[in-house]
Assembly symmetry: C2
Homo-oligomer: 316 residues x 2
């Protein structure tokens, strides 16, 4: 049986191999994705994001246990955009999830970029497709941080939970506008800490404010605020229930999300491919280095340098 | 006098207008950049980044006062990648800087994305060039957050200060690997709070660890750890001194940074331009929408869709 058949038959080793191929961007990786693509789009994709230290790993750990108790196969893709320059610093985090390591119905994979920007987002989306095709449902996509990349990654999900924790500096300031826009559920974790009530009240206030703002606002679901203490498994059963019910009642929003996801995947793959081809065709051998030197030394501005390439390709 | 002449003569209104042109991506914006480009690269660019709530605005506010006391013109570009979906949520933060609003030797500008990813990073780089050409020195580029985009923006700087604050959750976990790599100076702000010593010790430990790690490590300057209480102006004079001395002694690193910056600017402008032209040429009128629909409905995978475009452009 070839890799794709084994993957779709639920062979975890074939799945792991396919994800590695995507991460390493080897020949054949795209063929695997092409083959599985028609078999994807069936699983619920659950995004979990929030600042470092909010207890996302513990929470995901508990979620795994709850989904397993319902006999669902569950996959986790843990993504850390900001560890780009170290290549995989989050592995320590994952150690806690090892209690599920021997359960063949649980698949956990950490991903970090190896080089270029945008590549991680693409690879994470591809990995979600592979888990989906392999029958994992839900697929959890966990990101660390609250920057633009995390938002992009989270947008790949059908349901997005934003994890907050009481007392991390100026709570409300930390919840950036972009996060507000993508959150379907707010999860106050470590809710037994002092400050949980204040955080909930601040969040409520912020959501009311957002409700009242007219500019560009689409009518939409107002995110619920839930409380958990993941390490003691408190509130997690209710969270799973709220995720289910959100997923079931959000068909229109889900379709819109999937369209947005399709667009951002298309554009990022297109951009990677075009830049790669442009370099090969218009700036072969030392041409690329020379161009960069000229810009660095302020002899050519980057716009003029780009225009030259575009003209050379006959695309101006 | 035309806009570029007025800008280079130090007219703040011309400068503000040019930055708006860049933000709005209007015709003529690129011409302005082309014209000023040979006059850039002279100012020290100082990056200030760190998590929300660390007191970056207060610190930058104090830095302005110190540079003004030395009679330097100072420009600030405040960038918030995560407010992409709201379009300018950080303005509240800037209010505190208004004490300098009447000083013509101080120029402060907030920027947030209006739409596509990557655009903000490009616009911020362009704005730094404009301030540089207008004679502001230093130019401070302040970012909110610690994600990949903030790292990209900070990399545009000659000197990068990472602002931390005691007691924000798991301190060390919050300092992501990428931030470690770009930091030239660590600034523990609000250093009068409990936990400042522990944070400094944790940082020291982490830096020692990094020193000992072999994999991919280039010999480099070990970041200094400084302490400030910005609201009381404590430690800020020393910070300014350390920034100066880092800048003066880091010539080789600076040249390398400027080369990296040239490369990332070139690639991001190239990518924007190629994708734009590809859409016009290969997917005119409803072709683009149709392609996205096909991917969203899983009838075509994104790789195949991209390949079609590349072939149509004669670039395969």
């Amino acid at each position: 049986m070839d890799l794709v058949d084994r993957l779709m038959a639920g062979d975890a080793r074939a799945l792991a191999r396919a994800i590695s191929m995507i991460e390493e961007d080897v020949a054949g990786a795209v063929d695997v994705l092409r083959e599985v693509f028609p078999r994807t789009g069936r699983s619920m994709v659950l995004g979990v994001t929030g600042a470092p230290g909010a207890g996302k790993s513990s929470l995901v750990d508990r979620l795994i246990a709850h989904y397993r108790a319902r006999d669902q196969k569950i996959g986790v893709v843990a993504v850390d955009p900001s560890s780009a320059y170290s290549g995989g610093a989050i592995l320590g985090d994952r150690v806690r999830m090892q209690e599920h390591a021997t359960d063949p119905q649980v698949f956990i994979r950490s991903m970090a970029t190896r080089g270029h920007l945008g590549g991680l987002c693409r690879a994470a989306n591809d990995a979600v497709d592979l888990l989906d095709a392999a029958g994992y449902d839900p697929v959890v996509i966990e990101t660390v941080g609250v920057g633009q990349d995390e938002i992009e990654v989270a947008r790949a999900a059908d349901v997005v939970g934003v994890v907050l924790v009481p007392g991390m500096g100026d709570d409300i300031q930390a919840i950036k506008a972009g996060i507000l826009e993508i959150a379907d559920l707010f999860i106050i974790n470590k809710a037994d800490l002092a400050g949980a009530d204040r955080l909930a009240a601040d969040l409520e206030g912020m959501l009311s404010l957002a409700d009242n703002s007219i500019a560009g606002a689409l009518p939409r679901h107002r995110p619920e605020i839930l409380r958990t203490v993941a390490v003691r498994d408190e509130g997690v059963a209710e969270l799973v229930e709220r995720i289910d019910s959100f997923f079931e009642t959000s068909g229109a929003r889900r379709a819109e999300r999937r369209r947005e996801r399709a667009e951002s995947r298309f554009l990022s793959i297109l951009s990677e491919r075009l830049v790669g081809r442009a370099r090969e065709k218009a700036l072969p051998s030392t041409g690329y280095r020379k161009t960069i030197e000229e810009i660095a030394e302020r002899r050519t501005d980057p716009y003029t340098a780009v225009e030259r390439v575009v003209r050379k390709l006959g695309m101006s």
